[in-house]
Symmetry: C4
Subunit: 209 residues, 4 copies
């Protein structure tokens, strides 16, 4: 079994999840003649749209890079990938939660930001699970990408879930600040590193999630 249909299905889910995000940006209901004001007031909707779009976009880039290292699809890989997709497809919900609660202040805003971080944490763990599996199952890898390369990817990937734990704690201090942190992490991953030009032998790029 090749990786083509698996990648196509994953791309489909990612493309849909990224495009569904806009459904959580709501048209202001109040017809108070102050639409401009109402639109500005719901800035968290736009901010969380941008951050979540960037997050899923980066996931797509790194997912693509990961699967360039995979030559064969096992049943375990199939279901680990479904597990990852389950966490990514969940993201529109915490995004909507954040948009709805972040500028209300109070404890609810902190909870919403923490739940968003929790969703990011699950995505990060989903990615790490795949890399751990690849490090332990080198026979599914393409030639030139070894178990050692995959293990290095695991070590680098663990940064994500660790940072998200910090951000979850931070959410209870300031919700907008934690949203800024999620955005900053996304921007960081966008910046080209020394492994900018992904190639099967190049290694590090797929680990940068």
């Amino acid at each position: 079994v090749g990786t083509n249909r698996l990648e196509a299905f994953s791309d489909g889910v990612l493309a849909i999840a990224i495009t569904l995000l806009i459904l959580e940006v709501k048209v202001p209901a109040a017809a108070s003649g102050r639409l401009g004001h109402d639109l500005l007031h719901q800035w968290p909707s736009y901010a969380s749209y941008v951050v979540s779009f960037a997050v899923i976009g980066i996931i797509w880039v790194n997912h693509h890079a990961m699967f360039e290292r995979i030559a064969r699809v096992s049943r375990t890989l199939l279901f680990l990938n479904l597990l990852l997709l389950m966490t990514v497809a969940f993201l529109p919900f915490p995004t909507a939660l954040l948009a709805a609660y972040v500028n209300r202040g109070g404890r609810d805003a902190h909870v919403a930001a923490a739940v968003y971080g929790l969703a990011m944490e699950l995505i990060g763990l989903g990615f790490m699970a795949l890399w751990v599996y690849l490090a332990r199952t080198p026979d599914v890898l393409v030639e030139g990408f070894t178990a050692a390369n995959a293990a290095a990817a695991v070590r680098r990937t663990v940064v994500g879930p660790l940072l998200y734990l910090v951000a979850i704690a931070l959410a209870f201090v300031s919700a907008p600040l934690s949203l800024a942190v999620y955005g900053a992490v996304a921007v960081y991953f966008v910046l080209p590193g020394r492994e900018a030009r992904a190639s099967p032998a190049g290694g590090p790029t797929p680990a940068r999630r």
Copy 2:
């Protein structure tokens, strides 16, 4: 006519249905300062999201395995496949129903769980109809996969619709319990069996729905 475009269309529908599930997880409306509590209270939303995601994911895996055994697409096959997709694309509705009613208790919870089971039943029958057709139309099968193999798949497939009938009856005893059963069946199908490595000659995997 080859199977490529048929598979691509089916993948598209399955990818969309699986990703739309999140739209049924609603942001709590009440701004009571108890968002944490409200989020925990709607646990059936998350549970039914996970179960339905797993169900559609497994359908995708088995649909893929089935079409690896098919060499030619007939008009009948085309429409039987559309019928199956119609039942799968329907799943977000009973999922939302379950999420909304399961923890209200009373007769409504039982009805919601039974309707969910009914939707699963229809999916199971849709899959079985395809296998029955394949068992009777061996000239559309790939070389090495015979009518006898397809008939064996029918016998194994019938387990699904039978189990779902039991689960529907169970729904009237306890709605959360029936949701647990649907989840357990999904987990069971995820576990690799002796036919774990699907190959055109391997047979049983596609029948495991």
Copy 3:
């Protein structure tokens, strides 16, 4: 320019439109302890889901058959195809309208059924416009499928828009009856005709919309 990306994009739009239909089937809001009754009462939602799903499914089959006759994509063809997709992607709206109004009776039910017919009419005209263009632009056709074949397709295609006009008139007599007619027409198109096995030289299948 080949037809591959055009077909893939069209398949995407059709797959999404067909899967979005379920979003119009609403979870009953009233928690009256009579969920079973409430679910039965909204039968028009399920009926219009089934009919619209069948309609888009058949459109997909016939769109596929049409593009097997096309060898080259011109800019005009590109935009005529977008026009057709615009009418098909519109279908979830009249479907929801029908579901909401058909069993309320009164003039509103008639209007909803007529609007549904109007949407079908536009789809039929969109298909016919493509066939007319193909009949007049034989240099985009595959070898073995002539302008005369395309002209024959136009003549057969015109049946659709004519029948839908009748159905629109019928909608003002009885809304459920007109829904039954739309369903019957869909079933008719599903039945295999003498041209069941579509081939570039076979002709009639693509015209059966």
Copy 4:
């Protein structure tokens, strides 16, 4: 890295965004027995559906033409493309805004039309950013399409963002008029120019956004 998966993902996002537009056309809630009147009254919903559908359709055509000129995908190109997709996937929101506010009159209608124009402006700038990048990075271009060709495309592309600025100003005079202008611009881009038959050496078509 080739352009195939990038194009497939972009097509997916565009196909979903274009099909989601219909979700913003709402079924009239009032059951006043005047459904016909209510449906006519919400004409801005249909108008903005048609205009936004045409806009995304044209973006798809031009995106396709642009990527026919690209031979290699760099990391920068990947993220510039994601940025463009982020602006296009945002369009359902201003579309819904326009539909909800344009025929209420007053300042809100002007604001809604201006926000729609702002979204178009961002899309136009996103396209221009890609062309500017291509003009400065000729080594990713296909043979026969030079940096000079890309620079010409930049010059032609700048027309879009400039026109949209005018339309935004116009929105404060008349909201329906500005919607008409957006529609007219879309129609203009549909008309075949002297560069109607896109070919890698043909140049101008991709610049016509």
